[in-house]
């Protein structure tokens, strides 16, 4: 409710400001999930966007930044509706955000069709990396398959012979399973796709029993948001650690870890995952982002937050490179393509499909100097990795 009031005030003030001087601001719409239990992810993204705006003094070149946050309610239809509102009613210059692949897939045409720019700060469905790629789409995250591919590669390196896969039944869940399957050389003993959405399945008793009975050597899961915490708990309660080592993608993150720690679920310490970013990355931009976030919120930012922070910085770099001329779409596009900003993950480049070509690392859950559970990079699995769908993109 508070968010809604703030939003109304923001929009109201936006109307008055734009009435006076339209060219003096750059308008950014940000679509994420602020309600439903998945709202914890949106909260982390929002905190990071706010921190980014604070770091740049709410200015991009000479232009003030006007941010309009919208809540997709974890639903593709609402996401599209909010995107339409941002594009048509608010007439924003950039739309950023999008946690969920199915929401992004439903919303993308509304943005690109109106010749605006869409910066995905999380979702990276295979369709948009491939056939449905668009000149006005850029990602500050990854293509969905890449992270699980890196994990699959690591499993090969470790000599794991067989795995059992669990993921939610939606666009990204299938990509996450396919990513591991495309790289992993051993046997897939079984796979469960579970119900997802606002009434997602959170009790995995039946699936865990199947995984145990399958005789697989390791368990690979993808459960973002609150489902991740629930999964880890049940994994430990079922006594599977030791018996069936756990490898994850986008499941054990800075959102889940504080709660897992509060629940004393020590089984998660030492569990391994792949990611393109980690709070402990040693570069100036990341140090500033992580330490200020810790100061403001008392917990580590998640990769969702890092990617959202990057989205604002990427937009800033493009706006500044074009001297604040938001009408010159070609120049903006060229500037976005250059990715000439200090990303918290370190430098990366864009492929033909506007997905990052970047490193992927293996992270491990550890305890930091102050006793907080966090993740630390163990090794680099892929260097400058490009997704497999880029060749299907005619750009």
């Amino acid at each position: 409710m508070l968010i809604r009031i703030i939003r109304t005030v923001l929009i109201a003030s936006a109307i008055t400001i734009t009435g006076v001087a339209q060219a003096d601001s750059v308008k950014i719409g940000f679509v994420t999930t602020l309600t439903t239990p998945a709202g914890v992810i949106g909260e982390d993204m929002k905190n990071s966007v706010m921190l980014a705006l604070e770091h740049i003094d709410n200015k991009m070149g000479n232009l003030d930044v006007e941010l309009i946050m919208e809540d997709d309610g974890f639903k593709p239809d609402i996401g599209k509706q909010k995107t339409d509102k941002l594009v048509k009613q608010d007439d924003v210059d950039f739309v950023a955000g999008y946690i969920w692949s199915h929401v992004l897939l439903a919303s993308m045409n509304s943005v690109t069709g109106a010749d605006k720019f869409l910066i995905s700060s999380n979702a990276g469905p295979s369709q948009i990396a491939g056939k449905r790629c668009h000149p006005n789409f850029f990602s500050t995250s990854w293509q969905n398959d890449q992270t699980p591919m890196a994990l699959g590669e690591y499993l090969n390196q470790e000599g794991v012979k067989s795995i059992y896969i669990m993921a939610p039944n939606y666009a990204a869940g299938k990509d996450m399973a396919a990513g591991v399957e495309s790289v992993f050389k051993g046997e897939i003993k079984g796979k469960d796709l579970t119900k997802w959405g606002a009434d997602a399945q959170l009790d995995f008793s039946a699936e865990l029993a199947k995984a145990r009975a399958s005789g697989a050597e390791a368990l690979y899961v993808f459960y973002p948001g609150k489902a991740g915490g629930a999964f880890i708990k049940q994994y430990q309660q079922a006594g599977l650690q030791g018996e069936l080592p756990l490898y994850t993608a986008f499941t054990v993150d800075s959102i889940a870890l504080p709660k897992l720690q509060a629940g004393k679920l020590e089984g998660v310490l030492g569990s391994k995952m792949a990611q393109q970013w980690s709070p402990d990355m040693d570069n100036a931009a990341n140090k500033r982002f992580v330490s200020d976030y810790l100061k403001q919120h008392g917990k580590y930012p998640s990769f969702y937050g890092a990617q959202s922070y990057d989205a604002i910085m990427l937009i800033k770099s493009a706006v500044e490179a074009t001297g604040g001329n938001l009408k010159d779409k070609d120049a903006l596009r060229k500037a976005l393509m250059a990715a000439d900003y200090e990303s918290v993950r370190g430098p990366y480049t864009y492929g033909n499909n506007h997905m990052p070509i970047q490193n992927f690392y293996l992270r491990e859950v550890v305890e930091d100097a102050e006793g907080r559970w966090t993740t630390k990079i163990v090794k680099t699995v892929y260097e400058n990795h490009q997704d497999l769908h880029a060749s299907k993109c005619k750009m």
């Binding site: 796709l193 119900k195 008793s205 629930a230 309660q237 079922a238 709660k259």
Partner: protein, 307 residues
């Protein structure tokens, strides 16, 4: 055939069914006796989990959390009956739906304001976090506890309904409310107790599930729909019906999640089967409800005298 797996899955189904029963028994009594559709019954489930979680965080004891939580939810239930529900019994179902839907929004927002959006983990004592093994069978201790607690509550409820004066009035009220009133029973007090007891049982279900999933906003709204399915399949107002229907639905849900994909793979390519299976298993309980409504609209175990 892996018998250990089958037994494990049957136990998982039983556990889910008993949780549904805790939720549905209150719902069916309120629906049957007061003719009151309470969509916000799931909010008691959520509040129970949050009360319990808060007390566990303060006291460190799960048992204390459950006891204090039960008293808390009972009080909230009584308050809701006294302040709101009582004024609505004589109104029609549309009013019930509108008001109780509003209550859901109020409770969700209250929880958001009090505890934040991020949900709450409830730590379990080490004894309950382990597993028990029987031969080759390994079951999480806590899930067994849910089964035992669920059966215990079912037994207490059975005795309460069949052997006590309160139960007699409840049964009489479910069959013919007007007659009970005409006989001079203090119907207001009866309704208050039934409503609050129903709320407490829903709260207990929430407390039991929260250490597995976690307490989160709207957790009751997802499961309340399934609880309504249980009420309809079992027969409105029938506690016995709710018990059997909850077990049937718990088993259908768990077993279809466990075996449907392999069954479908016999008939179609595996990549289709693994996508179709979760969608189909999510539908099965609604198909069951549709079948019950079509062929036996009074439910599987209707109470005597119910029209």
């Amino acid at each position: 055939m892996d018998w250990n797996l089958l037994v494990t899955q049957l136990m998982n189904g039983l556990q889910l069914g008993l949780l549904l029963f805790l939720l549905a028994s209150g719902l069916t009594l309120i629906f049957g006796i007061m003719d009151f559709i309470n969509l916000s019954h799931g909010s008691f489930y959520m509040i129970g989990a949050y009360f319990c979680g808060t007390v566990v965080a303060k006291s460190g004891s799960f048992i204390t959390g459950v006891i204090v939580g039960l008293i808390g939810v009972f009080a909230v239930g009584a308050l809701v009956e006294w302040l709101i529900a009582r004024k609505l019994y004589r109104k029609d179902h549309l009013d019930h739906v509108l008001v109780t839907f509003g209550l859901i929004l109020i409770f969700d927002t209250l929880v958001h304001l009090l505890w934040g959006a991020s949900g709450m983990a409830i730590p379990l004592p080490d004894v309950l976090n382990g597993q028990l093994s029987f031969g080759g069978l390994v079951l999480p201790t806590y899930r067994l506890l849910i089964i035992v607690a669920g059966l215990l509550v079912a037994a207490i409820l059975f005795i309460l309904v069949t052997k006590t004066r309160l139960g007699m009035l409840v049964r009489a009220g479910a069959s013919n409310r007007t007659m009970v009133e005409a006989l001079g029973v203090n119907i207001d007090r009866l309704f208050l107790v039934v409503f609050a007891l129903g709320a407490a049982m829903a709260g207990l279900a929430g407390m039991l599930i929260a250490p597995i999933t976690e307490a989160s906003i709207g957790m009751g709204n997802d499961i309340i729909i399934v609880a309504f399915v249980v009420v309809i399949v079992g027969g409105i107002g029938s506690v016995k019906g709710a018990f059997y229907a909850a077990l049937i639905i718990g088993l259908i849900d768990t077993l279809s999640r466990s075996y449907l994909d392999r069954l479908l793979m016999l008939a179609m390519p595996s990549n289709y089967a693994e996508t179709a299976a979760p969608a189909l298993s999510a539908m099965l309980i609604y198909i069951l409800m549709a079948a019950v409504l079509a062929f036996r609209p009074q439910g599987l175990f209707p109470i005597a005298g119910m029209k």
